[in-house]
Structures are given as structure tokens and as C-alpha cells.
């Protein structure tokens, strides 16, 4: 196998890349999707479904308000992701500390992960959103947006720390031995040798969790915060029409696609750099 094959193979949709393969792929795609479309459009209830879910007038009226509310989902997701990246990494590193001295720290990290990965996210959003204000603490903000974001951070930190940990454990112990044998401290070996390799390997599952988090920002609607889903809810109740939900759904899908392509690109770039001589 030559180098070009290695580079093009795994990341691209169409393997091989020959013109004939492309046309075969196109024809089969067109056939499959036209058949599906015909089945749906010719079904008995299509006319009704079309007006309640795919109403152009509703699209026109509510696309902008839902988009406006969706900005809050994005803000929450971005803030939460930045905090999670740091907290989860710290948690994963703590959990990988060796030796009996660090047992209490490891134990606490394990309890945290078990607890927050196990509890349903919506339950934690309720607990924080209604429970914390009920405590009437003086210096803790009572804004439901803030409290729900904290709940999401706690849950997803547990998930993401497991992703990091699997990455750390996937780096062969001989790498640590090589680093330590050169005189690097445990922390230096972790920082310069183990983590850079671990993080590269976990970018795809990390993105997976972040897409999950972005969708779960919709859970904040249960606290009455007007984000995309809640906005769609209000519109739908006013109009007796489900089109606003479809709009909200489209926005959620729309932001995940570029992220998926970005991950593909990052992985390919990394592979290319390590395989192809490293001139950036």
C-alpha cells in the first residue's frame, strides 16, 4: 500500500475514488432516497403531516424567534464545554495517580464519576434548578440558567473524564518508562508525553460527548428558561402546530455537522503529520 492510499482511505466517504465508483454511489443514493420520498409522500396521512410538521408559513414566522432563543443553547454549551475540558482532565489525571498514598483521591474521583454518570441528567437539572434556590443561600446565584449549566457540567465532566482516562490508559506504559528514564518527573512525563498522545486519540469520543451535551442544553427548558426548545414549545402551543419543533431540531443538527467534519479533518491532519515527515 502506498502513502496516498493511507491518506485518502479511512477518512473519505467514497473509498477508492475512481470515477466509476463515484457514479455507482450516486445512482444508488438517488434510487434509495427517491424510493423513500415516494413512500412518505404517497402515504395516506401525508397531507396532514405536511401541514402540522412542515408548514412553510410556520417556518417563516418562527425560524427567527427559535434561532434567537437557540443562541442561549450555544452559549451554555460553549461555556460548559470549556469548563468540562479542564475539570474532566484534572479528574482523569487524579484518577490515574499510582500508589497507595493517592488512594483517597482516586476513591473520591471514582465516587464522583459513578454518581454523576449514573444519575439521569434531567433529575440533576431539577435538583439544582429547584433545590438550590429553596436552600435560600445568600451568595449563590439563583438563576435557573446558571444552575442548570452547573448541573450539565457536573454530569458531563464525569463522562468526559472517563474518555480522557481511556486515552491515558491507551498510551503504552513503555512511553512513561522512556520519559521517566530520561529524568522527567511524573508530572512532566504526564504533561509532555502521555497527555498529548492520549488527547489526540480521544478527540472523536470527546466530540461525541459534546454533541450529547449540546442536545442536553434543551433540558434547561424544564426550568422554564426560554431556549430553543422552550421557544418552540410556546410557539407550538399558540399555533397548534408542530413545525417549530422541527425548526428547533434542524438547528441542533445543523451545529453538529460542522463539528463532525472538523474532527475528521483534525484526525486526518494528525495522521498526515505523523506519517508524512512533519513539515507544517
Amino acid at each position: 500500500m502506498d502513502e496516498d492510499d493511507k491518506g485518502a482511505g479511512r477518512g473519505s466517504l467514497i473509498l477508492g475514488g475512481a470515477a466509476r465508483n463515484v457514479s455507482v454511489a450516486m445512482v444508488s443514493t438517488i434510487v434509495v432516497f427517491s424510493t423513500l420520498a415516494l413512500v412518505v409522500v404517497n402515504s395516506a396521512g401525508w397531507a396532514k403531516v405536511k401541514t402540522t410538521f412542515f408548514n412553510p408559513h410556520q417556518f417563516h414566522t418562527y425560524a427567527w424567534p427559535v434561532a434567537h432563543a437557540f443562541v442561549l443553547n450555544i452559549k451554555i454549551a460553549v461555556v460548559a464545554e470549556l469548563v468540562i475540558l479542564v475539570l474532566a482532565l484534572a479528574l482523569a489525571v487524579l484518577r490515574s495517580l499510582p500508589g497507595p498514598v493517592f488512594f483517597p483521591i482516586r476513591a473520591m474521583a471514582i465516587v464522583y464519576t459513578d454518581l454523576f454518570r449514573g444519575v439521569p441528567t434531567i433529575l440533576l437539572v431539577y435538583l439544582f434548578g429547584f433545590g438550590v434556590p429553596a436552600l435560600a443561600l445568600s451568595h449563590v446565584p439563583n438563576s435557573p440558567t446558571y444552575l442548570a449549566t452547573v448541573a450539565l457540567i457536573m454530569v458531563y465532566t464525569a463522562y468526559v473524564s472517563e474518555v480522557y482516562r481511556s486515552g491515558i490508559e491507551s498510551v503504552h506504559p513503555s512511553q512513561d518508562a522512556a520519559a521517566r528514564s530520561l529524568g522527567l518527573s511524573r508530572w512532566q512525563a504526564m504533561k509532555t508525553v502521555i497527555l498529548p498522545q492520549a488527547v489526540r486519540r480521544v478527540i472523536p469520543p470527546l466530540l461525541n460527548d459534546f454533541i450529547g451535551l449540546q442536545k442536553d442544553t434543551a433540558l434547561i427548558s424544564v426550568l422554564g428558561v426560554v431556549e430553543a426548545l422552550q421557544q418552540a414549545n410556546l410557539a407550538s402551543e399558540a399555533e397548534f402546530n408542530y413545525t417549530p419543533y422541527v425548526i428547533a431540531g434542524l438547528f441542533f443538527v445543523a451545529i453538529t455537522i460542522p463539528q463532525a467534519r472538523l474532527t475528521d479533518w483534525l484526525i486526518n491532519r494528525d495522521r498526515g503529520r505523523q506519517m508524512a515527515g512533519g513539515r507544517m
Binding site: S181, L182, L184, T192, P196, A276
Partner: protein, 248 residues
């Protein structure tokens, strides 16, 4: 003269398995000692214990007059003075050759980037690897990778070099280039402890050959005597098997 390395009654076990059963071994400065013995005889474990990658159960290891197995010794300081090269190269795959070599000088010795790179280039040139400075390990042949690993170990200016079967993972035609590098170091006066299966090489470069059997240093002597007239029955059996395999 203070010996470069002294191992006294070194014991090491993994669970119930006794890997090292009281090793006594001493290396003078500029001495090149080859450790031979079957797989599992404890060669690798001894090297890892000297480099403090494995804690010993009892006994004492002294490097250049300093007891390194004592409590409270700064292991990173000790390791800086001892270079080790592994069978599987263990280069850092996410770093270029130059980064691999300059990592320890920068992080451990506190050298500036330009000084470290200057020094690294001098070493890479010496070993014919200067044109590989920006390559990543995956792109190099096994022999080149192992030579880079040797350069990386030399970059902290160690007084003692340990080699753990460094040619065992190489294709036969690549063995010579790596052994050549070690030969060069021997001529340069480097103190070295070399675990190897390459008997011809051991006969050539070693000032002394040690035979390790089931965690015991069974026999040692100058290579001429060791290979032609071994004293112990176990040594004779081992060498016989090596000859039958066509490796001597």
C-alpha cells in the same frame, strides 16, 4: 578509583517469582560489560532496577560512588546520569526526531531551546541522522529509530549507558548499523552495560561477559575465556544451544 556501578546482593521479585536472586556486579569506568542469558534470566529487570524504573526488594546499587537505592534519593537526578535504550525503541511518536532528543535537555537540564537544539544537532550529525531532524518516528526504519533512541539517551550526557536487547526487534539487515553505533561509543570510552543476544558482538566489544541464569550471576570473565572455556556446566549448555542455533 570509584567504580562506575556497583550492585550488591540485589534481590527483586514480582509476586512469588524471584527474578533477581542476589546479584553482585561491579563496573569500572570505561568498562563495557555484556549481560547474556536466556529470556527470563533477569537481564532486563537488572537494567530497569539500575535505572530505578523498578524498585529493588533488598541490596544496594551504587552509581559513581553514590547509593541510588537509598531512601530520599532524587530519582530524576539519578536517571539523568544513566542512559537506557530499550528493545522497542520507545520513541515519542507525537514528536519529531529533534523534539525527542531535546525534550530531556530542556525539561530536565533546563537548557534553552537553541542550546538544546544545537547540542542535539551535533549528536544527530555524529550518528548520521542530521537529515532526519524533522521526521516523525513512524517514518524511520527500525535501525534509524533505535539510533535516535540512543542519541536521545546520550543527550543528557550520562556517565553510564544501559542497553536492553536493543537489536532484538530489528530486521537482520538493520542490526549492524545499531551495533556500529554502540561500538563507536565503546571506543569513545563510554561505560556500558549491555544485555544482548548478539554473541559475536559481545565477543568483539565486551571487556567482560556476564552470564545470568535464573536471577543469579553464574559466571563472568573476559570474552576470549568465557566463550572458549566456560567454567560452569549451565554456561556450557547455554552456549551449546546458541551454537546450534547458528548464532555464534
Amino acid at each position: 578509583m570509584t567504580p562506575a556501578l556497583v550492585c550488591e546482593k540485589v534481590h527483586k521479585s514480582f509476586g512469588k517469582l524471584n527474578v533477581l536472586n542476589g546479584i553482585d556486579l561491579s563496573l569500572d569506568e570505561h568498562e563495557v560489560v555484556c549481560l547474556i542469558g536466556a529470556s527470563g534470566s533477569g537481564k532486563s529487570t537488572l537494567l530497569r532496577c539500575i535505572n530505578l524504573l523498578e524498585p529493588i526488594d533488598s541490596g544496594r546499587i551504587t552509581v559513581a560512588g553514590r547509593t541510588v537505592t537509598a531512601r530520599g534519593v532524587d530519582v530524576n537526578e539519578v536517571r539523568k546520569g544513566i542512559g537506557i535504550v530499550f528493545q522497542a525503541f520507545n520513541l515519542f511518536p507525537h514528536m519529531s526526531v529533534l523534539k525527542n532528543v531535546t525534550l530531556a535537555p530542556r525539561k530536565v537540564m533546563g537548557m534553552s531551546r537553541s542550546d538544546a537544539e544545537h547540542e542535539a544537532m551535533r549528536l544527530l550529525e555524529q550518528f548520521g541522522l542530521a537529515d532526519k531532524r524533522d521526521e516523525y518516528p513512524d517514518r524511520l526504519s527500525g535501525g534509524q529509530q533505535q539510533r535516535v533512541a540512543i542519541v536521545r539517551a546520550l543527550a543528557t550526557k550520562p556517565q553510564l549507558m544501559l542497553f536492553d536487547e536493543v537489536t532484538s526487534a530489528l530486521d537482520p539487515e538493520l542490526v549492524a548499523e545499531v551495533l556500529g553505533v554502540i561500538r563507536g561509543l565503546a571506543h569513545g570510552g563510554m561505560t556500558m552495560l549491555i544485555a544482548t543476544h548478539e554473541m559475536g558482538f559481545a565477543r568483539d566489544v565486551a571487556s567482560r561477559v556476564c552470564f545470568l541464569d535464573a536471577g543469579v550471576l553464574l559466571e563472568q570473565g573476559p570474552p576470549e575465556q568465557f566463550f572458549s572455556d566456560p567454567k560452569e556446566e549451565r554456561t556450557r549448555q547455554f552456549l551449546q544451544r546458541i551454537i546450534e542455533a547458528g548464532r555464534l
